[in-house]
């Protein structure tokens, strides 16, 4: 568990206030987010639910600093990031945020172990041996300890998503953001990946925000925030 997470269970890891975001160009430009305010605390799992096109993923990318809001503020661990430059947002992503995407997005030319080590190598917080040991431990914890040296192409969809979960946790981020993490998996694998995500995140005291269409998954989260037409309802 990261020391920050252990010291401040229940502390606000992520907060956004009055977020606005429009997408598209010219006449096709759509006001997707209309003043969204939200916060996520360490050790809690929050599900954002709502119909397609309501702005869930757009909000998630803003919270993950992958995109910039037109208006409003985003704080990560108390630091205002919404107006920061690309370099600061990139560094904040590497240090504080882990992502799990719907289509697992593994780098297929690399082994499972290398995929998990990738964020650690960039952050450079650990020695190479320690990185390898942590990657092995994470892959063990998602049940892939015996497949660490398999390439992404040699893993099933469920296995790839489990590697993606391990990779998202690699740098012990304060915030874990997951965009439909089970959307591409069958029922059995969905449950497995969700359990892993929530179990590991809670164990390490991370704030988990996930976007899902799956009501069963949403019900199992600590709380649910339904969205419609760019606002929480």
């Amino acid at each position: 568990m990261s020391s920050a997470a252990k010291q401040n269970p229940g502390a606000v890891a992520l907060r956004c206030t009055g977020l606005h975001r429009s997408l598209g160009q010219g006449e096709g430009r759509v006001h997707v987010l209309k003043g969204v305010t939200f916060e996520a605390r360490r050790g809690e799992v929050c599900a954002i639910v709502g119909p397609s096109g309501c702005g869930k993923s757009t909000l998630l990318y803003l919270l993950g600093l992958l995109d910039q809001p037109d208006d409003g503020q985003i704080e990560i661990n108390g630091a205002l990031m919404s107006n920061s430059d690309d370099l600061a947002r990139t560094r904040a992503r590497g240090e504080h945020i882990g992502f799990v995407f719907q289509f697992h997005f593994l780098m297929l030319e690399f082994t499972a172990l290398e995929n998990v080590m990738m964020p650690m190598r960039k952050l450079g917080r650990l020695a190479p041996e320690a990185m390898q040991a942590r990657a092995h431990a994470l892959l063990d914890s998602v049940g892939l300890g015996s497949k660490t040296h398999r390439l992404g192409t040699q893993l099933s969809g469920g296995e790839q998503q489990r590697v993606a979960v391990a990779r998202a946790l690699a740098n012990q981020p304060a915030i874990l953001l997951a965009d439909e993490p089970t959307g591409n998996l069958d029922g059995k694998n969905s449950g497995l990946v969700f359990d892993l995500l929530t179990h590991l995140a809670k164990e390490q005291g991370q704030a988990v925000v996930l976007v899902t269409h799956n009501p069963e998954i949403a019900q199992r989260c600590d709380f649910t925030r339904p969205m419609r037409d760019g606002v929480f309802v």
Binding site: D67, R91, R167
Partner: protein, 413 residues
């Protein structure tokens, strides 16, 4: 291995066919650049060696005399009239001994030889030919020329010891059907005398081989009726490339016209330079193709790896990391391409050197002449580096500009 280099290597090896095309073009570009420079420079250097071996690095002749219009004002005044008609050239060197001593004071000068030259007619029982006789002091002249190496029949010892001996150019000897030991008649200024062929020389420079006859200086003075003075001083230098600068200083200090070999042979040297530049331009096309192939490969990889770029950016990889990942790919191809290209160039240069090729005229050779110069290798690699890296910058910067949010949303352009 740095994370960016590791990623670059994997991206590159995932596109094997495109990578091999870029690599092949780089190898060809670097290799052929080296081969063409080795051959064109080879002939140029051989020509330079030939003419230095015949005429030396600098030739000093004709005393310069200022006339009234170009004389400087006396004292420390800056007044000086420059007028082309203000200089008069007085033919020949009046006091060769004193001038040679002054020339030897120049630090770059290796040796000096005073030469008396005159036009003669040579007659054998076979035919008569016009020629030029050169009176030399053998000990001095072998130090300013390659005369010893140019002897193809007979020897210099006979020439040195026997009176009435002559060194005859190969072409002239063939035309007059002269062999070592044969006698011939030489006529100049209304007198004629018999000389004997001590040796036959061949420089490879046809104009020299068909006209030049060397005799000892006293013989030439007597034949040409020139008891004192010299036609010119032939000077060899430790560093012949400095000849223009040395010649200019000699001209200024000694007040004699001094011509460096670069000026004397300007026409041929310009031809070689033009040839070298034109082949360099032609061969650079291969390197240009290599850079286009690299551009194409990287542009394809950027298109195919947008999701990977998004993943890397989401994990904290900065824009400069993405740029580096793509520049590393170009760097890997360049590194391997340059090494293999240099090896390819070396091997092909060796093979070209073995090609039989008979050339006479401005030099004589029976095979391709090449020069192995590390500067050719460096120039070839530098050209490839500049072209490929410039071409790689465009896709690399494009990759770095991609917004991760746009990619995961599927709206990246």
């Amino acid at each position: 291995m740095s994370p960016n280099l590791r990623i670059a290597y994997r991206f590159l090896t995932a596109k094997k066919r495109a990578m091999f095309m870029s690599l092949a073009c780089t190898i060809l570009g670097v290799g052929l650049f080296i081969v063409t420079q080795a051959t064109t420079s080879g002939f140029e250097k051989f020509f330079t060696k030939t003419i230095l071996g015949i005429n030396g690095a600098i030739r000093i002749e004709d005393r310069i005399q200022d006339t009234m219009t170009s004389m400087a004002a006396a004292g420390s005044a800056d007044f000086y009239i420059v007028n082309r008609e203000g200089v008069k050239y007085i033919e020949g060197v009046e006091e060769p001994q004193r001038l040679a001593e002054a020339v030897r004071e120049f630090p770059n000068v290796r040796a000096v030889s005073a030469v008396v030259r005159g036009n003669v007619q040579i007659t054998t029982s076979f035919k008569t030919e016009d020629a030029q006789v050169f009176g030399i002091k053998l000990e001095d002249h072998v130090r300013v020329s390659d005369l010893e190496e140019q002897i193809t029949a007979g020897d210099l010892e006979t020439f040195r010891s026997a009176t009435g001996g002559a060194l005859v150019g190969r072409v002239l000897a063939d035309r007059l059907q002269l062999a070592v030991g044969d006698s011939f008649s030489v006529a100049a200024r209304g007198q004629s005398r018999a000389l004997k062929v001590s040796a036959i020389f061949e420089t490879g420079y046809r104009e020299v081989d068909k006209a030049n006859v060397y005799v000892l200086l006293p013989e030439a003075r007597s034949l040409l009726r020139r008891p004192t003075g010299a036609t010119f001083l032939q000077v060899s230098l430790h560093d012949p490339t400095r000849a223009p600068r040395d010649a200019a200083r000699m001209k200024q200090i000694l007040r004699h016209d001094a011509k460096p070999w670069q000026e004397r042979e300007k026409t041929w040297l310009d031809v070689f330079r033009a040839l070298r530049i034109s082949t360099m331009i032609t061969v650079s096309v291969f390197t240009l193709i290599a850079s286009l192939a690299m551009f194409n490969t990287l542009a394809m990889i950027v298109l195919e790896k947008t999701k990977d770029i998004a993943i890397l950016r989401s994990m904290g990889y900065e824009r400069k990391d993405i740029t580096q990942v793509f520049l590393w790919q170009a760097g890997i191809v360049l590194g391997i391409g340059a090494a293999l290209g240099a090896l390819f160039g070396y091997v092909v240069t060796w093979m070209v050197e073995q090609v039989p090729l008979s050339i006479t005229g401005i030099f004589k050779t029976d095979h391709f002449i090449v020069v192995r110069d590390v500067n050719h290798y460096l120039a070839a690699i530098a050209t490839a580096v500049v072209m490929v890296m410039v071409a790689s910058l465009i896709p690399a910067r494009r990759a770095a500009r991609l917004e991760p949010g746009d990619i995961v949303r599927g709206t990246a352009q």
